[in-house]
């Protein structure tokens, strides 16, 4: 069947690491992709202040496709300790891999390789990128 949906990716989506709400979020952000109806809400709490503050806890609620779910789950696994800037760097790695079909650099989160087959499907790029946009906007807010 479609290589887009290999077992890893489906498992990643099912795992839904970080799904749920935080008790005391310091930032909350809802974003949707009107083209396909995907919607994600991200809640964050932080250590520190200002641009250097780091994600302490993350909670997300996804109403969306498997790609969006898997993307949120990977963020749930990796975002702890990240700054807005480092999240942005991960998004750029991912976006470059999708849009330019370039390889992921060694510094990218290893789990992002699950999205390599999405590069061929432009109409799905936004599904994968939406959770990154949401978490970055939340971290910057």
């Amino acid at each position: 069947m479609d290589s887009l949906y290999d077992k890893d990716l489906l498992r990643q989506a099912a795992k839904a690491t970080g799904a749920g709400k935080l008790a005391a979020p310091q930032a909350t952000l809802m974003l949707d992709n009107p083209l396909c109806g995907d919607r994600i809400t991200v809640e964050l709490s932080f250590d520190g202040e200002g641009p250097e503050r780091r994600v302490r806890e993350i909670g997300h609620t996804v109403k969306g496709c498997v790609l969006c779910q898997a993307s949120a789950s990977i963020i749930g696994q990796n975002a702890k300790g990240a700054t807005a800037a480092s999240l942005k760097t991960q998004q750029e790695h991912l976006s470059h891999m999708l849009k330019k079909q370039g390889p992921l650099p060694a510094t990218a989160w290893p789990a992002l390789t699950a999205f390599e087959p999405v590069a061929d499907h432009k109409s799905r790029h936004n599904c994968v990128l939406l959770p990154f946009e949401a978490v970055i906007e939340a971290a910057l807010s």
């Binding site: 489906l10 009107p34 396909c36 109806g37 969306g64 599904c127």
Partner: protein
Amino acid sequence: MGKFDPAPVRAQFPIFSAPLRPGVALHYLDNAATSQMPAVVMDAVRAHDATRRANVKRGVHTLAERATDAFEAARAKLARFLNAADPDEIVFTSGATGALNLAANSFGALLKAGDEVVLSVLEHHSNLVPWQMLRDRSGVVLRFLPATAEGHVDVGALGRTVTQRTKLIAVTHVSNVTGAITDVAAITRAAREVGARVLLDGSQRVSHGPVDVQTLGCDLYALSSHKMFGPNGVGALWGKAELLAQMPPFLGGGEMIRTVTLDRTTYAKPPHRFEAGTPPIAQAVGLGAAIDWMNTLDHGAVATHLGALTQRILKGLADLGGGNGRVRVVGPPGLHGRVPVVSFAVDGAHPHDICQMLDAHGVALRGGHHCAQPFMESCGLGGTTRASLAPYNDDGDVDALLNGLEDALAKLS
């Protein structure tokens, strides 16, 4: 009315002559988005461009006369297809969206603040956004007919929605989401009682054979060529001559004027008043060829054939996952009052994942809000998956759909 065999029809469509990908046949069930085009239509467009390409309406040389004749012949064919009283009641546009924007601007210019336009929550954005823009510009009030539980425009609500201030009821003839056919007689009756006009968005109706605007009793009718086996880039607005004559122009440019000075411009009669600039000539000729092609079909037999396929899809959806009710049809549950367009929602599975997984089986579906977000909201859905049929579809297409769905749902559980 004989039994309909889709095989010879399918053979006329070049798209089916090669596999979609090596080893994967195309099962095209996205006809409500765009239908495929038979070779005769492609041939007609090419013949036009190869033997009589020229600008129309003003040229006196041979090619220009031939091009104008072909363009006007296409107008006459479409007029007959719609049973219009006169070819000059047909305005060629860039598509249904172009036709609906023309209506909202040009008919809209006859309205004043406080006048009411009745739409339905089922409208395609193309028959909603232009009216919202009109509202924001001119203070016209929009009122909405709800949808029934089965996805029809709820004509039961006409009594409380249509008022003495209603100047137009503009609704879809057939819903592009649910496939439900609107009870037009109820609409025109309600409109007549208050002296309102009726516009029908026929985009999803014209794929299924000739329309009779005179029997329907509407005043304006919008359609798109690419949904009726014709080329992209052309559509039409039909309007009653007497109404078109009252409507001011919308787009300005060549060919729609009578005289132009720097200060003042007077306009040509309909339909030319509404056809600014070079029209989509070769595309209109292609649309004419598509109508000729459609006229070769026995539409009753086609409807029976597609009804049987629709029935198989409806039953197959109900049986999926052992009939656990995970799949819900959004639209009429049976064959009554519908065209062969079936939308469904699957618990815990996103339409885009379903479409993507089905694509691996060669099945082309559409998933999402189908440019009908308000209806989706009213159903509490983010989107649906939609299968839509055309005469070339066959049992093999339905098999591929149902088998593919079985697989996909297993994965997405």
